[in-house]
């Protein structure tokens, strides 16, 4: 059914009120002379008419009036939030800034100072804020022996003293 393909979409567009006068005339002329398309058009018309007949019961106007009042009356917590928001931001900023001035305890003796190893591995160019034992704990999933070897490479010093206690 070649004409069906050609006119089917146009039928739906016509029922949707989206066709121009010329397009409408052309389609209607075809439908008049083609019983199959006339039947199809009737079916589409039926589907759309029945769909349109499905109504929704909308709440009465007094319900909407109450709802409207709820919108216009500002919520009580809103005003508080308006003042609190900038205050909270300010406090957070102050806290962040103050963190830069907090002096870390200077127990350099206990800290591990990592160096670049000779063979190029374990290149760490910073001071760690934890002690040797802590560092060992952090890498103990390898196993203690390998860990001490790694430490020896990294620190370039024997790790014997670590196991003294």
């Amino acid at each position: 059914m070649v004409c069906r393909r050609k006119y089917e979409r146009l039928m739906v567009d016509l029922l949707a009120g989206e066709l121009t006068e010329v397009e409408t005339e052309m389609l209607m002329a075809h439908i008049k002379g083609c019983p199959k398309c006339a039947g199809l058009f009737k079916e589409y018309k039926g589907v759309i008419e029945k769909s349109k007949s499905i109504e929704v019961s909308v709440p009465e106007s007094d319900v909407w009036e109450k709802k409207l009042l709820e919108i216009k009356i500002p919520r009580p917590h809103r005003a508080g939030i308006k003042i609190l928001k900038p205050a909270a931001v300010l406090v957070s900023l102050l806290l962040l800034v103050s963190l830069f001035f907090v002096k870390m305890p200077d127990n350099r003796k206990d800290k591990v100072v990592l160096k670049t190893s000779k063979n190029g591995y374990g290149m760490v160019l910073t001071k760690l804020p934890y002690t040797e034992e802590c560092l060992l704990e952090r890498i103990d999933y390898i196993d203690e022996e390998s860990a001490s070897e790694i430490l020896e490479i990294v620190l370039d010093t024997p790790t014997f003293s670590i196991y003294e206690y």
């Binding site: 018309k45 039926g46 589907v47 759309i48 029945k50 499905i54 929704v56 709440p59």
Partner: protein, 171 residues
């Protein structure tokens, strides 16, 4: 907000609250949820009211926000595995004679078909069939191309027609 603007908001609310409720209800199929969606849409509109310049821009924006909220709601509901129980469509069985019962059965089937549409198909169908917006307006609201809207609407109507194949008595 100046009094003039407030009055305009009230007028807009009175004109559109019911319409948007219809849209939201057809999307989510639940009275309370539809009410919440409409209320939330108007709260957002109230906050931005002074930015709007004309009614057409507001109505487009309102349809958009109502549909988006409904869409989000449907997505959330499908992840929670919740199925709507409440149906608040007008039941015309109370007002009509028995000979039209077949028609009503068909209407019930159409409701089921609409329920089974994807949220995006539902949006296009509702805006075209019930709100009678143009393809162009729908494209603006759904942020799609006119051709896509046209094709989606055709697919939906075709799908409903096909699935109602065995109930042609009323057509």
């Amino acid at each position: 907000m100046p009094d003039g603007k407030k009055r305009l908001f009230e007028e807009f609310y009175k004109e559109y609250a019911g319409k948007l409720y219809g849209v939201a209800f057809r999307m989510v199929n639940n009275r309370q949820d539809a009410m919440d969606i409409v209320q939330e849409s108007f709260i957002r509109a109230y906050k931005n009211w002074e930015k709007f310049r004309n009614e057409s821009a507001v109505s487009t924006w309102m349809y958009k926000i109502t549909l988006n909220l409904s869409y989000d709601f449907l997505k959330k509901r499908s992840t929670n595995g919740y199925l709507p129980i409440e149906k608040d469509f007008e039941d015309k069985r109370l007002h009509i004679s028995e000979k039209n019962i077949i028609d009503l059965d068909m209407v019930d089937s159409i409701k089921k078909e609409i329920d089974n549409l994807t949220p995006k198909q539902k949006m296009v169908f509702i805006l075209k069939c019930y709100e009678e917006l143009t393809y162009e307006e729908i494209a603006r609201i759904t942020k799609s191309r006119v051709g896509t809207v046209k094709a989606t609407y055709f697919q939906v109507i075709q799908k409903i027609k096909k699935n109602l194949g065995g109930k042609k008595n009323g057509m």
